[in-house]
């Protein structure tokens, strides 16, 4: 199965990855080759076979709903690229109100 450049661009956006024109060309070939490889499974009869969620068919273990971890905000934020007053800094998301601009 072949994948086209436009689909590569769409997937790249979904994955929040920027791709150059040259990368689109390479990815079109590589991903088409990989999709051809994985396409082999489409002919397998799986009607009687449930989807496997866990190698040992275990259910997700639950724990009591109690606090078990101490607050480590300072230690965890020490590795952040930009913080202020315990918050992570990112570029402005919400535009400033016109009245605030003066």
């Amino acid at each position: 199965m072949a994948i086209e450049g436009k689909e590569i661009e769409k997937v790249a956006h979904l994955a929040r990855i920027t791709v150059t024109a040259q990368e689109i060309n390479t990815l079109t070939i590589d991903m088409s080759n990989i999709l051809n490889l994985v396409a082999q499974i489409s002919d397998v009869d799986t009607q009687a076979c449930p989807s496997m969620a866990h190698p040992m068919e275990c259910e997700q273990r639950l724990r009591p709903d109690v606090v078990t971890q101490l607050n480590q905000r300072d230690a965890l934020q020490a590795v952040a690229p930009a913080t202020e007053a315990g918050l992570y800094l990112v570029p402005q998301v919400i535009a400033a109100h016109p009245k605030d601009k003066s």
């Binding site: 994948i3 689909e7 590569i8 997937v11 790249a12 979904l14 994955a15 929040r16 990855i17 920027t18 791709v19 990815l27 590589d30 991903m31 080759n33 990989i34 490889l37 994985v38 396409a39 082999q40 499974i41 489409s42 397998v44 799986t46 076979c49 449930p50 989807s51 496997m52 969620a53 866990h54 190698p55 040992m56 275990c58 997700q60 273990r61 724990r63 078990t68 480590q72 230690a75 965890l76 020490a78 590795v79 952040a80 690229p81 930009a82 992570y88 990112v90 570029p91 402005q92 998301v93």
Partner: protein, 485 residues
């Protein structure tokens, strides 16, 4: 001293023939001298290693030593070590100093092991040759023009070159066993859920599993004993008692039923590799094992299933790298979208981006059922093949890889060809089974590995077969030429 096994070094420490400080200094010296040739380490922390060694000696002096106290280990750079750079082989985490220890690291620290440093690896464990690392490729100690395998290539090369007597590794589709085979060492991927994944940077969460990489099966048993066990911090850790892995190593193989899956001895297997595996089978037969022909009919589907499931889980797990909370952040982003996209595009290498894109594609609207759900159904068929086989045999034997190590660069631009090099190892991850690779001879002057696959939680049985084989053979004792004292 460099060629002593982990168990021999443990005895030497116990008998006070040497101290942990002396041992640690010795291996730090070897790393300083030989690592520039192999590029097996990303980080070396002499200060911390010697502090841990000193503490280990004091602990021994107080008669509080465990079997692992004072023994050096190199951790794959996928395991978080508090206060130490944990890069996962990626520019994305080039600046990441872990604020906490992985459970594996904490358990081994608590038992007094000494961390020599962090080993090189394929970026985010995505690769079979250690060529996708941001820190450059690792050279195979047997032939420095060849790859060491991957993704735990640095750990395998470090043990093979005797830069460390033991190392940790992780295995998502063969990343402990394939480099172990290509570097001529012993590597064990435990049952899924046997060793905690907490603090082990996630690639594909339903497949990832940490384990030991050592010279011998006996060493692997000693190290696994220290690594294994239930961890409440890992929601997929399984609460099941850990047996004494050393206790059954010498049990006779008389009457042990070992299955040979005919699909693993088919087209694509190098003739020299096959001859060596057949010779190894003869050794096991002489040791009393009964060799039985079996079939795992869906083997050929394991690579296609893996390259849907693993990228799908990778695309989800790696969405956390967004330039906000830790890791690489692109300079001067114009808005949030630009921050995300440029941080990820500049921080990830080509193979990681390819797998994220593939995973995003197979999980996207219109393709989820055809790819992801279908793959999980076929995965179930692969698992059922094994369960059927284990009604006939105690464990399964195969080559670990179809060929010995290939030349650096030979498959780098052909992802599909690279993916096929894991053909014999992937199925054990899909089925969550324990599997190990042990040295079984040489083909084209390069080491080859024999793989043993067991039923869930039967690591002790694999270690028993591997140990008895190593008692009868010397393949695990051969050394690369250039690494002498």
């Amino acid at each position: 001293m460099f060629n002593k096994t982990l168990c021999e070094l443990a005895s030497a420490l116990q008998n006070k023939e040497l101290s942990s400080v002396e041992l640690t200094q010795y291996f730090l010296g070897r790393i300083a001298k030989l690592n520039p040739t192999y590029n097996a380490f990303i980080t070396i922390d002499e200060t911390q290693a010697l502090t841990q060694a000193k503490n280990a000696d004091q602990r021994r002096a107080k008669n509080q030593a465990t079997p692992l106290t004072g023994l050096p280990i190199a951790h794959k750079d996928i395991f978080c070590v508090q206060g130490m750079k944990t890069s996962c082989g990626s520019k994305m985490l080039h600046n990441f100093i872990s604020p906490y220890d992985a459970t594996v690291v904490k358990k081994l620290n608590d038992q007094g092991m000494v961390t020599l440093g962090k080993t090189n690896m394929d970026e985010f464990a995505m690769g079979s040759s250690n060529e996708t690392s941001f820190y450059g490729p690792v050279a195979n100690p047997w032939d420095t023009d060849c790859v060491p395998g991957g993704s735990s290539g640095g750990s395998a090369a470090a043990v093979a070159a005797r830069l460390a007597p033991s190392a940790s590794g992780t295995d998502t589709g063969g990343s402990i066993r394939q480099p172990a085979a290509l570097c001529g060492i012993t590597g064990l991927k435990p049952t899924y859920g046997r060793v905690s994944r907490y603090g082990m940077i996630a690639f594909a969460s339903s497949l990832d599993q940490g384990g030991p990489m050592t010279q011998t099966a006996e060493d692997a048993a000693l190290l696994l004993q220290g690594m294994a066990g239930f961890d409440p911090l890992d929601s997929t850790s399984i609460d099941c008692p850990v047996p004494d892995y050393m206790a059954n190593l010498n049990v006779s193989l008389k009457g042990k039923k070992i299955g040979l899956p005919r699909e693993y001895f088919a087209q694509g297997l190098d003739h020299d590799v096959e001859l060596k595996i057949q010779a190894a089978i003869d050794v096991l037969r002489q040791l009393g094992a009964e060799i039985i022909d079996i079939s795992l009919p869906n083997t050929a589907l394991s690579v296609p299933v893996y390259y849907i499931v693993a990228p799908a889980e990778c695309s989800s797990n790696l969405s956390r790298y967004d330039g906000v909370r830790y890791g690489y952040r692109a300079p001067e982003p114009i808005d949030l979208e630009d921050l995300y996209k440029r941080s990820r595009s500049e921080g990830f290498g080509a193979e990681v981006k390819r797998r994220i894109m593939l995973g995003t594609y197979v999980l996207s609207k219109g393709y989820y059922d055809a790819y992801y759900i279908k793959a999980q159904q076929v995965r179930n068929l692969i698992s059922q093949d094994f369960q059927h086989a284990f009604t006939q045999v105690d464990c399964i034997l195969s080559p670990t890889t179809p060929t010995p190590a290939f030349k650096t660069g030979a498959k780098l631009n052909d992802p599909v060809s690279m993916y096929w090099s894991d053909i014999y190892t992937i199925a054990a991850n899909l089925a969550g089974l324990p599997a190990m690779s042990i040295p079984a001879g040489f083909a084209q002057k390069l080491p080859i590995g024999l793989q043993l696959i067991g039923q869930h939680f039967q690591e002790a049985q694999l270690l028993n077969v591997a140990h008895r084989f190593q008692q009868a053979t010397a393949w695990h004792q051969y050394l690369p030429n250039q690494i002498s004292e």
